[in-house]
Amino acid sequence: MMELPIYLDNNATTPLDPRVLEAMLPYFTNKFGNAASRNHAFGWVAEEGVDYAREQVAKLIGCTDKEIIFTSGATEADNLGIKGVFEMYQDKGNHIITATTEHKAVLDTCKHLEKLGAKVTYLNVKEDGLIDLQELEAAMTEKTILVTIMYGNNEIGVIQPIKEISAIAHKHGALFMTDATQAVGKIPVNVNEDGIDLMAFSAHKMYGPKGVGVLYVRRKNPRVKVTAQMDGGGHERGMRSGTLNVPGIVGLGKACELCRLEMESEAKRLSALRDKLENALTTLEESYVNGNREHRLPHVANISFKYVEGEGLMMAMKDLAVSSGSACTSASLEPSYVLKSLGLSDDLAHSSIRFGLGRFTTEEEVDYAIENTKKAVNHLRDLSPLWEMFKEGVDLSKIEWAEH
């Protein structure tokens, strides 16, 4: 039996896998020790749990366990990576390169550093959501210390050419960092093959718990250092103080192990479901897939249904939990900056819906989502004056709208 509502917002967060929960539970109760307590068994047991998790994480991304810094999540990892590099390498330069479609955890951190004297280049993306490598190359200067470009985009799922980007950064003597929150655990990510020096990600996007994440910091070729942003007991090799969230870390480790073992078959299954959803929904007139369809994560579909407004549409899709780039879903009344970066007009950005499939999404649910969405789009188009005008052949761009 299918339960309603159906969760299709796995880019926002994912449900905890029961196997992950099971691994975590003892660390809430009898294995409650502080992993930094070096002189008794309670501490050792907790530390063992953390060490094992560190190995599980390292194995997933192809690094050593000493290169894993546990944080409270990807936002903290982004902050630590960018601010930490800026502070550590300020003798070398003050220039950082990023892109306009990054997550706010990166963009707002860069904006903060601009106030402290950083020069930041925000690369535009092409209409498919990918950055232009020539533009990146042209933006590199002697003062560039860091290039930070996300692995897979959270709204449209496009995957940036990471190997090429890191090669350009390294050629000019800069470090390469990536926010890989949406990619790790979903597609193969290997820090050595991809040339990654720093990488942020979190547990709750891969069926682990909320409140725990990782900053990967390369230790060899080159040895990378970041200045701690949280001072205290000198945990995590001095880069991130604070008592370790042992149950969370154990859960993250288990989540990484499950992703590593199941990724290949899961990616195949999800991309087939995603294609089914996308193919069915684009049979609706005037519906468009946003972002590059070749280089992208297997589980995300972002579709604009022209002449209907995203929030209104989501209300009609009441049995589906999805998200929209519509302004109405945010307090700012501005539509998604990511979609606008692709050159999408505001009205198409307002009309977008993001479907994020996940490990627990079934084909039956996708079939239901297709029917439910089609019905909702048709219902709202019946209510839409723009749809009526479009059908009558009125050129909407010629109308003088009263902007408000």
Partner: protein, 137 residues
């Protein structure tokens, strides 16, 4: 954000969806908002010889609150004279639908649509266009 029951009711069973002949002299049409802003309302009234609104129709591109605001407006318009209709205030809509602050602009848009439809009717029938004192710019 949760919607009020009344918003859900109007959204799920919108009243008076449709189109009147905009070229008819007895029909006033108001088209307000902009696609770029995420909401466009078209509100139409049919007015008899005594300046009484006998029918009202709407179509709206927008969120649930925008759809509910315009649906409610059409209900309130029927049976009113065009002068009475001018007294409908956006805050009445806010109150009736229990709109949260972030959705007040939807009610303002509905008030604008009403006034714009009345003005269209007035101009078509040789009356002076009213200067709309209240706007949401």
């Amino acid at each position: 954000m949760a919607y009020s029951e009344k918003v859900i009711d109007h959204y799920t069973n919108p009243r008076n969806v449709g189109t009147l002949n905009k070229d008819s002299k007895t029909v006033g049409t108001g088209l307000v908002g902009a696609p770029e802003c995420g909401d466009v309302m078209r509100l139409q009234i049919e007015v008899d010889a005594n300046n009484v609104i006998t029918d009202a129709k709407f179509k709206t591109f927008g969120c649930g609150s925008a759809i509910a605001s315009s649906s409610l407006a059409t209900e309130w318009l029927k049976g009113k004279t065009i002068d009475q209709a001018l007294e409908i205030d956006n805050m009445d809509i806010v109150e009736e639908l229990a709109l949260p602050p972030v959705k007040i602009h939807c009610s303002v848009l509905a008030e604008d649509a009403i006034k714009s439809a009345i003005n269209d009717y007035r101009v078509k029938n040789g009356m002076e266009a009213l200067v709309l004192e209240k706007s949401h710019h």
